[in-house]
């Protein structure tokens, strides 16, 4: 029972942190920074404890809290950990202190407001992952936008207003459509089974006709696909990343992008399985397009943040491919790839932030030979680059390998029954590893090698704080790359449940039935 309360503590701790910050005077900037870091560290430790105590063998929710909220509508405050979110919550809590520590020297004005926003964002993100009630989920989903709007809009780069409005309006548009679908879904559930509930477990049992499923899935998918982001709904990401301050980019890439894939995995596909299977070719194609298109675009960028932004689009294409493959290996690979991308992208953005603080430019052409000028920096950069392209022993390999293996396996079986599109998609996705190596190594080459070109003269190499942040990330990357067995065990039951939910037909295939009757 105490452990269940612990999850509530983990969730509300950042909110308490906000209250703490309000109490602190605005000019005591160092106290504010340290207080925020302390709050985030405590949250990480508690989340880590929950992770260790997470029982891989038990099905269903753990550390659950369920309290009636708006009982008349069937809305409950219900949170819990299961295989779907245990790794993602750990990732969010892990990145929290890194984000706060990374911003120490970067944010100099309105420090109190900034860290308040970061803590609020942390609260909303953890909430989205642990919510088990659709109303609560939607609430947290929307809440995430507010602090990010301010973070990008106030402390961002030159075109920050444009970028933040684009991001918020684009995402909010998807959310509105999803809201309509949510309402209709709950209404349908009530109409067909008489149960008024927003709880996920109840909603999984809804039996909707195929056409309705397709419409609702499209609505949900719109919102999630914008968040992932999937091509062609991705154009907000490069601008948001480029204009956001480092901390914003780190959080955006590290956690926020996982919301979309988590949404697909927890809600989109399992709620509407028949539609999901019907539209699987569409999603699969978009996933592979994301992989290849994102990689191609990353090749021709001149802004170093944009390169990483487009690489994110490419990496998350792998996640979507793994999810839609409905192969257990592919699904597990997708989950690992989510975490891996969170680590590598966060690390790369942190590194970009570090160099930007020194040299004040994001133009790739302005840099060169950093391996000589800042050797320690370069070592970390190289490691993150290699993890990004899926070098074995890093988490990137675990994710990509399992996703591709699963996707290929599923598509080979489909090909045996005449569906060659999936096989072609899987083969094309494997080609993505070549493009990934191409753009990342081109980037690393121009950045680290060649004649030394450091804007604004010689710069200091990494300090203790910066190195500590990067060491933490690198350790996590190698842990997931070399010893993925334990995390995979924890997520296995959820992966199986997801597979089961999506592969089981909720409504009998009306067309098939009609054909059979005629015979």
């Amino acid at each position: 029972m105490g452990d269940a309360l612990l999850l509530d503590v983990v969730l509300f701790l950042p909110l308490a942190g906000v209250a703490l910050l309000i109490a602190l005077p605005s000019d005591r900037e160092d106290s504010i920074r340290h207080a925020s870091l302390a709050v985030m560290l405590v949250q990480f430790l508690l989340a880590g404890w929950l992770y260790l105590r997470f029982d891989a063998a038990s099905d269903g929710l753990q550390f659950e809290t369920r309290l009636p909220w708006i009982a008349a509508w069937g809305v409950y405050y219900q949170i819990g950990l299961d295989g779907y979110n245990v790794l993602l919550v750990l990732l969010t809590a892990f990145l929290g202190p890194l984000v706060v520590a990374g911003a120490f020297s970067a944010i100099r004005k309105d420090v109190k407001l900034f860290y308040g926003m970061v803590l609020l964002l942390q609260f909303a993100m953890v909430g989205t992952f642990v919510a088990q009630d659709l109303f609560l989920f939607y609430l947290f989903w929307e809440t995430m936008l507010i602090p990010l709007f301010f973070i990008i809009g106030i402390w961002g780069g030159e075109r920050r207003i444009y970028a933040t409005f684009k991001f918020v309006l684009y995402t909010a548009f998807g959310s509105i459509v999803m809201l309509a679908a949510v309402i209709y879904l709950v209404y349908s559930l009530d109409a067909t089974t008489g149960v008024t509930s927003f709880a996920f477990t109840d909603l999984y049992r809804a039996r909707l006709p195929l056409a309705t499923q397709v419409v609702l899935l499209t609505a949900f998918a719109l919102s999630f696909a914008i968040k992932v982001p999937m091509v062609p709904l991705h154009t907000w990401l490069p601008d948001a990343h480029v204009e956001a301050p480092t901390a914003g980019s780190v959080v955006l890439a590290g956690v926020l992008l996982k919301m979309g894939t988590y949404g697909f995995m927890k809600l989109g596909f399992p709620l509407f399985p028949d539609a999901a299977r019907l539209l699987a070719p569409v999603f699969g194609t978009l996933a592979v397009v994301s992989i290849l298109y994102g990689a191609c675009l990353a090749l021709v960028q001149t802004d170093i943040k944009k390169i990483i932004a487009y690489s994110s689009i490419s990496h998350l294409g792998y996640v979507m491919l793994g999810l839609i493959s409905l192969d257990l290996i592919g699904i597990q690979g997708a989950i690992v790839q989510m975490v891996s991308h969170g680590l590598t992208a966060a690390g790369l953005f942190l590194m970009v932030g570090m160099i930007y603080e020194r040299c004040h430019t994001r133009e790739l052409a302005a840099y060169g030979g950093l391996a000589k000028a800042l050797p320690v920096y370069s070592v970390f950069f190289m490691i993150l680059t290699l993890a990004s392209i899926g070098l074995p022993t890093t988490s990137g390999f675990t994710g990509e390998f399992l996703v591709l293996l699963g996707a290929f396996g599923a598509s080979w079986q489909a090909a045996a029954q005449g569906d060659t599109l999936r096989l072609a998609l899987a083969v094309a996705a494997v080609g993505g590893v070549v493009l990934g190596a191409l753009y990342m190594l081109s980037f690393a080459g121009r950045f680290l090698f060649g004649a030394v070109k450091v804007p604004h003269g010689t710069q200091a190499d990494l300090g203790f704080r910066e190195s500590a942040i990067l060491v933490a990330i690198v350790v996590a990357i190698f842990w997931l790359g070399l010893f993925p067995a334990e995390p995979l065990r924890k997520t296995e039951l959820a992966a199986k449940a997801y597979q089961q939910l999506v592969m089981t037909a909720r409504v009998p295939d009306a067309a098939k039935l009609a054909r059979e009757e005629r015979r």
Binding site: K166, L169, Y170, P232, H234, T235, Y293, C296, L297, L299, V300, L328, I329, Q332, G369, A371, K372, L386, L391, P392, T393, F397, T398, F401, L402, L404, L405, F408, G409, W412, Q413, A426, V427, V430, G431, V433, V434, A437, L438, L441, S442, G445, L448, F449, G450, A451, V452, L482, F483, P484, A485, L488, R489, E492, A495, K496
Partner: protein, 625 residues
């Protein structure tokens, strides 16, 4: 007993970490001791494992840990030491250690001494993982890992952007091969449910034919081998890889990494034995690459580039052997090639060292008297690669030519003819290299000539050892040793009688190459200079390496960038996607603007509008009660 295998793999890793983290602080002496000592210990442990294998008879197995479990699928990190692995591991640790020792002399003046040795140890770690791996997964980890080490070492002197780019080129070309390799792996896993190579072989040899074409798998895996072992069309990275330090070229791009493709085919011989189409492709590409590379080597003027193309050519030979089912013979050539090619590269390094960095053979000449040990070892290795008996190269090359002709698993006269032609060319260009570098009048600038000196014992000692191995290594019956695992093919009916004549032919070819080179390039290469204008076009074609790099750039690289920039970025992302977004936003703004015109600020208008609204509402609701 079994954890010895893990020890072999981990020793270089410890070296990498130690030298990488502390090397700069603890000085070159520490780096040398750790960097060379650990591989030597690994070599000793390998010998111990070899003796254990001989004593026990069964392969040594070691499961280190379980990497992942998903459903009923398990992926283990496990090592296996059988006869094939024994040969490979001995080469890797043995020749590897020698090259490490050589490096202490060659890289002594370099500022990044510690970094060099840490990378070299990293390479050894991954290479050992590759050859000791029991499953394709572990092999692939090693496969990609050596690609990484190669990238880091080719671009070792990264301040030169060309050298850094060469490293990138190697990695990307390798990756293209890896894509094929991955597909082959996935296919195997899908059909057989395992990545353990011994079980894969067994499934193809013993069991009923699996539900997938062995040739398809074979071709996919061979694509990976083409990338790693620099066969056409993925050979373009190897000549550029000469940008790295010479010991690196010796170790990675001659003796070990590039042979990984050959090893992989041998390891999975079970598949290839039942894949006639794939085997035919292997042999065809092998012989074509061998001939192609040999023609290019004839006109190269950089001492390392000649050796690079020579390596590509010799790898082609190994694949010819693989393609005709003579796997053990291919490995035998891998073994002898490791000796004489490493010797050649290291001797070339010695020449470069003596010449103060010069690599152009047009600026050499007359070095035989000045650096006798280097010359002697270079000459022995050259004779070995030319296939002159009783040196090592003769035995392995002769066997390959024989089986190319007579194997019942794909031997053909055409194959033999092209291979024999390549052997002739090999002898020719190698002796050309020898002549131009060491004989005749000196063409060196005076400044360089004054500084020519023999290399330190750390370098010459290794050269002598390798030269001796090149000389006598052929007497070790490697194919016979491997026969239990890799049975040799049968000889086609009626061709058995030709074995001895063909052997004489191959010796004759070697001698012919020697004489031809001596004739052309002897006496200050007068005849070569006189003949050059007659073959100008051919010369240009060969010097330009058949312009393959330019073709790739024109047909692949530039279109890729063009499409990504012009089509995807400008048209796709900016014009279409962002454009539609901006269009929507603009539409919203315009609509709002139009609607806002009602707000005139004039109260009278508002009053009128309110009145009209009320009247309309009343009028509408009146009939509805």
């Amino acid at each position: 007993m079994t954890s010895l295998l893990t020890l072999i793999v981990l020793l270089p890793l410890a070296g990498f970490l130690a030298n990488g983290l502390f090397g700069n602080r603890l000085g070159n002496r520490f780096v040398s001791v750790v960097g060379c000592g650990l591989p030597l210990v690994a070599f000793a442990v390998t010998i111990q494992c070899f003796l254990d294998l001989q004593a026990g008879g069964t392969p040594l197995l070691d499961t280190v840990y379980r990497w992942a479990t998903i459903g009923e699928h398990t992926f283990d990190v496990a090592f296996r030491f059988d006869r094939l692995t024994a040969v490979m591991t001995l080469i890797v640790t043995g020749v590897g250690s020698l090259i490490h020792i050589y490096s202490t002399g060659y890289m002594k003046e370099d500022a990044s001494y510690a970094r060099y040795f840490s990378y070299l140890n990293l390479f050894l770690f991954f290479m050992l993982m590759l050859v000791l791996g029991r499953s394709l997964l572990v092999l692939f980890v090693g496969w990609e890992g050596v690609g990484l080490a190669s990238y880091l070492l080719i671009g070792f002197w990264f301040e030169d952007p060309d050298k850094a780019r060469a490293g990138k080129k190697a990695f990307i070309t390798n990756r293209i091969g890896d894509a094929g390799f991955l597909l082959g792996m996935f296919l195997l896993y899908q059909v057989l449910g395992t990545l353990d190579m011994d079980r894969i072989n067994a499934a193809f040899i013993d069991g009923p034919q699996p539900a997938v074409s062995a040739s398809l798998v074979g071709i996919l895996l061979f694509i990976g081998a083409c990338g790693k072992s620099a066969q056409i069309p993925l050979h373009v990275w190897l000549p550029d890889a000469m940008a790295g330090p010479t010991p690196v070229s010796a170790l990675i791009h001659a003796a070990t990494m590039v042979t990984a493709g050959v090893y992989m085919v041998a390891r999975l011989s079970g598949i290839f034995m039942h894949a006639p189409e794939a085997s035919a492709l292997v042999a065809a590409i092998g012989v074509f690459t061998a001939f192609f590379a040999a023609t290019v080597a004839i006109v190269q003027t950089d001492i390392k580039k000649v050796l690079a193309y020579s390596t590509i050519s010799q790898l082609g030979f190994m694949f010819v052997a693989m393609g005709v089912g003579a796997y053990a013979v291919g490995i035998f050539h891998l073994y002898t090639h490791a000796f004489f090619k490493a010797c050649l590269f290291l001797a070339a390094g010695s020449v470069i060292h003596a010449m103060g960095g010069e690599q152009d053979i047009r600026k050499m000449g007359g070095l035989a008297r000045r650096i006798p040990v280097t010359f002697g070892t270079f000459a022995v290795a050259t004779a070995a690669i030319a296939g002159l008996p009783p040196l090592a190269g003769f035995f392995s090359k002769d066997e390959i030519l024989w089986y190319a002709f007579a194997s019942d698993r794909g031997g053909a006269t055409l194959l033999f003819v092209v291979a024999a032609g390549t052997a002739l060319l090999t002898s020719f260009y190698m002796f050309r290299l020898l002549w131009l570098t060491f004989f005749g009048r000196s063409r060196m600038p005076a400044e360089t000539e004054r500084h020519v000196h023999e290399s330190p014992p750390s370098m010459t000692g290794v050269l002598v050892v390798l030269a001796v191995l090149s000389a006598v290594g052929g007497f070790v019956p490697v194919p016979h040793y491997l026969e239990a695992m890799l049975p040799l093919p049968e000889v086609v009916e009626g061709r058995a009688a030709l074995q001895t004549p063909l052997m004489f032919l191959s010796v004759a070819l070697g001698i012919a190459g020697l004489l031809g080179a001596a004739w052309m390039y002897g006496g200050n290469a007068e005849r070569a200079k006189r003949l050059a204008p007659t073959f100008a076009t051919l010369h240009r074609l060969l010097s330009g390496k058949y312009f393959v790099d330019e073709a790739y750039d024109r047909l692949i690289t530039r279109p890729l960038f063009w499409i990504s920039d012009r089509v995807f970025l400008r048209v796709g992302d900016r014009a279409l996607l962002d454009g539609s977004l901006h269009g929507l936003a603009g539409l919203g703004r315009r609509t709002a603007g139009t609607l806002a015109r009602i707000q005139t600020g004039n109260l009278h208008l508002y009053a009128w509008l309110a009145l009209i609204g009320i009247v309309a509402a009343l009028a509408w609701s009146w009939p509805h009660g």
